[in-house]
């Protein structure tokens, strides 16, 4: 039982990271109807930026500055590489985001030297005892950060005039324009939010481990997450992120019991298997709306 709970808590921590990443995908999808494949690069760039800022500013301030910094980078990328393509096929824009991903990753990766690069988090692999379960502090921190972000986003989208304008633009772009909402500003802001969220996810993904050139691979699991949750559902991203994190961790923990003859751990595959099962039952994901494609 404790083994189960340990794996479960680890899964929630990892799931919180997926949630942060998936929220960024969904926010961009809602505003542009495009899946941005640049999120992994922003996550990696965020972790690397924070690791450079921590020695100078201390970890906490570095996280704030790094998150804002990557938000600005994402904003600039949208303005320079994406905005001129608006109106082109969604597929074309998605391909361009892959190009953006590669460029940002290569540039950020140039700052990964031979010395181990650390974000300088205070948790490392330390644990606390909850009941009789050893829970890693970094997982608790990731969960708390995720909850704070989700609540902040909820308030932003419900109460602020800008957040409301973003929701309106997601529902009907032309009607939002007729209210004086600048759709360009909505695009820019959605990229900035997604960039910041990815950077924050990167900090927690890097907590306890050095950053290497393949660090961005973590973010790929956010793709099955957004499919499971529904491409256009923020709530879906939260539920699916945690679900995928937990399922992945449990399969990983019980791998040798389940598949004694397989040497490669099946945990990595779990998110994709879960995605296919969900798609068979609910073609638009758990919380996605049917009408995702619009002319």
């Amino acid at each position: 039982m404790t083994g189960f709970l340990t794996a479960f808590s680890g899964g929630l921590g990892q799931g919180a990271i997926y949630v942060l990443l998936a929220l960024g995908f969904v926010i961009i999808y809602k505003s542009m109807k495009v899946v941005s494949f640049a999120q992994p690069a922003f996550m990696m760039a965020g972790a690397i930026l924070v690791s450079y800022l921590t020695p100078r500013f201390g970890f906490w301030l570095a996280v704030v500055l790094g998150t804002l910094g990557i938000a600005l980078v994402a904003l600039a990328v949208e303005r320079v590489a994406i905005r001129p393509m608006v109106g082109k096929a969604v597929f074309v824009i998605a391909i361009i985001t892959i190009g953006v991903d590669i460029v940002v990753r290569v540039v950020a990766g140039a700052f990964v030297g031979t010395d181990p690069l650390l974000v300088g988090d205070p948790w490392g692999l330390d644990t606390v005892l909850i009941g009789d379960v050893q829970v890693q502090q970094r997982h608790i921190a990731a969960l708390i950060a995720m909850v704070v972000v989700v609540v902040a986003l909820m308030l932003f989208f419900r109460l602020s005039s800008t957040g409301l304008a973003m929701r309106a633009a997601a529902l009907d772009q032309e009607a939002a324009m007729a209210q004086g909402v600048s759709v360009g500003a909505v695009f820019a802001l959605s990229w900035a939010l997604a960039g910041g969220l990815a950077a924050l996810a990167g900090v927690f993904a890097a907590a306890g481990n050095p950053i290497d050139q393949t660090f961005w691979v973590v973010a790929l699991a956010a793709l099955p997450v957004i499919i499971v949750g529904g491409l256009d559902s923020l709530g879906g991203a939260v539920v699916a992120g945690l679900l995928v994190g937990v399922v992945e961790a449990l399969v990983r923990a019980y791998h040798s019991d389940l598949f004694p003859n397989l040497s490669t751990n099946t945990g990595t595959l779990a998110p994709y298997v879960l995605m296919m099962v969900v798609l068979l039952v609910r073609p638009h994901g758990l919380f996605g709306t049917k009408e995702v494609e619009r002319v």
Binding site: S161, L164, D172, A178, G180
Partner: protein
């Protein structure tokens, strides 16, 4: 509201996708505080004129090839919808287009996007105009009836206290009783000082309340008269507006032909 201003298009030519010519030299004026009707059959270019006035051609791959849009003396042809909304030009799209998954009040708050500071005053004014919206304020907009959705669409655009309101077929698909309600609301809004450009297929309703009327046909203005004259003239009723005894629509060219024939016969 200061000195009177006229919202106008002069000699407007609009093309979509660089090929479809949808307005061919349209000139039209909406004076401050007046109701102007723009009538015409489907595809005659009415919506296109509204899009030019509100800066919404861009997203339809439409562009102004000749002529211009003026607010007073200023050429505003190149302004964005946001800039035009800030200057008091608000476009109520055909088909209501309320944000169905937002509440009624959230819809109204989005309508206040360019006038956030006056949210309270405008909300009170809109609820005063549409008590029904206040009753349903926290309900989801998608569950309103067609007439209520039209009221919400109009109310939403009133949330920035516009100087000019461009209404695209507000009576479309509504029962006669509801059409009469919408008509009265337009009169009330106009009485409070907003100029209205009313695009309608329901010519009778529009001409009842308009001061002036234009008739469009295949991208041109073919008739431009005080509304009372348009409404009173039987020929016009029958041939420009399709309100004749037989009820079917006839074109301008047929009318000229008919007139010659009529003179000949009498």
């Amino acid at each position: 509201m200061g000195i009177p201003v006229v919202l106008s298009v002069k000699n407007l030519e609009v093309v979509y996708d660089d090929v479809v010519l949808a307005a061919r030299g349209v000139s039209l004026e909406v004076p401050d505080g007046k109701i102007v009707a723009l009538l015409g059959a489907n595809g005659s270019g009415k919506t296109t004129v509204l899009r030019a006035l509100s800066g919404m051609l861009d997203i339809h791959e439409g562009s102004i090839r000749k002529g211009a849009v003026y607010l007073g003396d200023e050429d505003v042809s190149a302004l964005s919808p946001t800039a035009l909304a800030k200057r008091g030009v608000r476009h109520v799209l055909e088909g209501r287009r309320v944000f169905k998954e937002l509440s009624v009040e959230e819809n109204l708050r989005v309508g206040a996007h360019v006038a956030r500071k006056d949210l309270k005053t405008n909300l009170a004014r809109v609820y005063d105009l549409f008590p029904r919206l206040q009753e349903r304020r926290s309900g989801q907009a998608g569950y309103l009836s067609g007439g209520e959705q039209q009221m919400l669409a109009i109310g939403r655009s009133m949330m920035s206290d516009p100087r000019f309101l461009l209404l695209d077929e507000p009576s479309l698909g509504l029962a006669p009783l509801v059409v009469a309600q919408i008509r009265d609301i337009i009169v009330e809004i106009n009485a409070q000082g907003t100029g209205v450009l009313l695009v309608e297929q329901n010519a009778t309703m529009a001409l009842q309340i308009a001061h002036h009327g234009y008739v469009a046909e295949t991208g041109r203005i073919v008739m431009d008269r005080p509304a009372a004259q348009l409404l009173a003239d039987d020929d016009i009723r029958e041939f420009y507006l399709g309100l004749g005894a037989e009820g079917d629509r006839t074109s301008y060219r047929d009318l000229k032909h008919y007139r010659r024939r009529k003179r000949w016969a009498s």
